[in-house]
Subunit: 261 residues, 2 copies
């Protein structure tokens, strides 16, 4: 049987340890091609490069443990997936995996996530796709306890297919040595960021800001990703790219939008 | 009665004619403050500035027709909204409007849209929000026939409130002189972009790409935004930022994710 073709990407850049860990475990499952940004792209949301040129080149990052074929790309994670599907791969991948992100993409973070934007881009193109994130922002985070779960989720996805119109958002708790307790299918918790802007003055007298903030969980539901992660489980949220709030359409149809003033 | 406070932003930049048109009509409804990017940010999706400084300054773009208070900002549309809400406004806005974008943000384009990312950011913060786009990419597009509809939708939103967890994605057809026929509440049509990469070689011999593509509509539904626009109607899609595909959770719970190999 032909091995599945696995497209691997991320948003932390092609040298990130999380990507390297993901490559190592994907090589146990299939044929791996990497197309990843040449520099970190965190917080890029679903950005694409419209008014600029895109560069891409074959690279060797880790001759022994890397993938047989790796490309770095000057664009965003979504650009990487578009370029891979249209230009760089010689056949359609069986799955696209993105990550493992250094840091959480649970709850509302999915909106800002470059990791998930790559997965969503693949999903829009009809390729089964999964974004993986470890809830540890450290560059030296320990990805080892995650890998068993990453492998299981990819194998199950290849076996079952993925629900139409969705991609999977997988977050893995930081558990300091003990492995996660298991995997839970969840919904995205309601949450937001309470921004604080750190206002400073440059040496030339110009005012500028650093964006900082505190995560604010607004949802105590035991069926949420935040609950699962806080209790030591890997969370899997089926994430859709039809953003229509279908259930609100009847309510909006009661508005008098087409009446003359 | 106190006039509503209206936060106006966009992704084409603070000098864009579409923003200027939006300001003019918002001044008929309330007190207007503008916080908009200092340069075009199209295709930025929901990007935010994490690893860089943000600059913001008071500007006067059009003394007569502009807003009494306008700020330009070096960040993305989502940054503009965060900065406005946390730092620049002296009270919470009653509504946030983004646009009028030079070009469509219907169907799958909502995912890539800087215009909509600003609206979604406001929505996450609990501020009623609307993104407006005209299906005409020209910088000299005629926004005049749109303004009556923009005003009506904002007035109705202030009157009715907005369904919880949603923002409105409004697209206005290009109708060459004749005004749109009316307003329709719609769902997001299924569609994607068939990318084509235009591969070139730089004067120094480096290969690079331009991202181009053709829009591919996969959905003939008469309840979609694409149908409404093609038939001369303004489309209003309630857009949510809970991306969970709730209906697929039972299906995923049938997977054997927690069984040992």
């Amino acid at each position: 049987m032909k091995k599945p073709l696995i497209l691997v990407t991320n948003d932390d850049g092609i040298t990130a340890p999380g990507l390297r860990a993901l490559i190592s475990v994907m090589k146990e499952i299939g044929e791996v091609v990497v197309v990843a940004p040449d520099s970190p792209q965190s917080g890029m949301g679903h950005a694409i490069t419209l008014d600029n040129t895109l560069y891409s080149k074959k690279v060797v990052i880790d001759k022994e443990k890397g993938a047989p074929l790796e490309y770095s790309c000057s664009g965003t994670p979504a650009d990487c997936v578009k370029l891979a599907l249209q230009e760089l791969l010689d056949r359609r991948p069986d799955i696209c995996v993105s990550g493992i992100n250094h840091g959480s993409n649970s709850s509302i973070n999915v909106i800002y996530s470059g990791t998930m934007s790559a997965a969503i881009e693949a999903g829009i193109e009809g390729v089964p796709a999964i974004g993986f994130s470890l809830c540890d922002y450290g560059w030296d985070a320990d990805f080892q306890p995650s890998l068993k779960f990453v492998k299981k989720i990819v194998v199950e996805t290849l076996k079952n297919g993925i629900p139409k119109g969705t991609v999977l958002n997988v977050n893995i708790p930081k558990t300091d040595g003990t492995p996660p307790k298991g995997i839970k299918i969840c919904r995205q918790a309601r949450a937001n960021w309470k921004e604080k802007f750190d206002k400073r003055t440059s040496p030339t007298g110009k005012e500028y800001y650093w964006l900082t903030g505190e995560f604010e969980l607004l949802d105590k539901g035991e069926d949420t990703d935040e609950w699962a992660l806080a209790h030591g489980y890997v969370s899997v949220v089926p994430t859709q790219f039809d953003l229509t709030a279908h259930h609100t359409i009847p309510q909006l149809n009661n508005w008098t939008l087409n009446e003359q003033e």
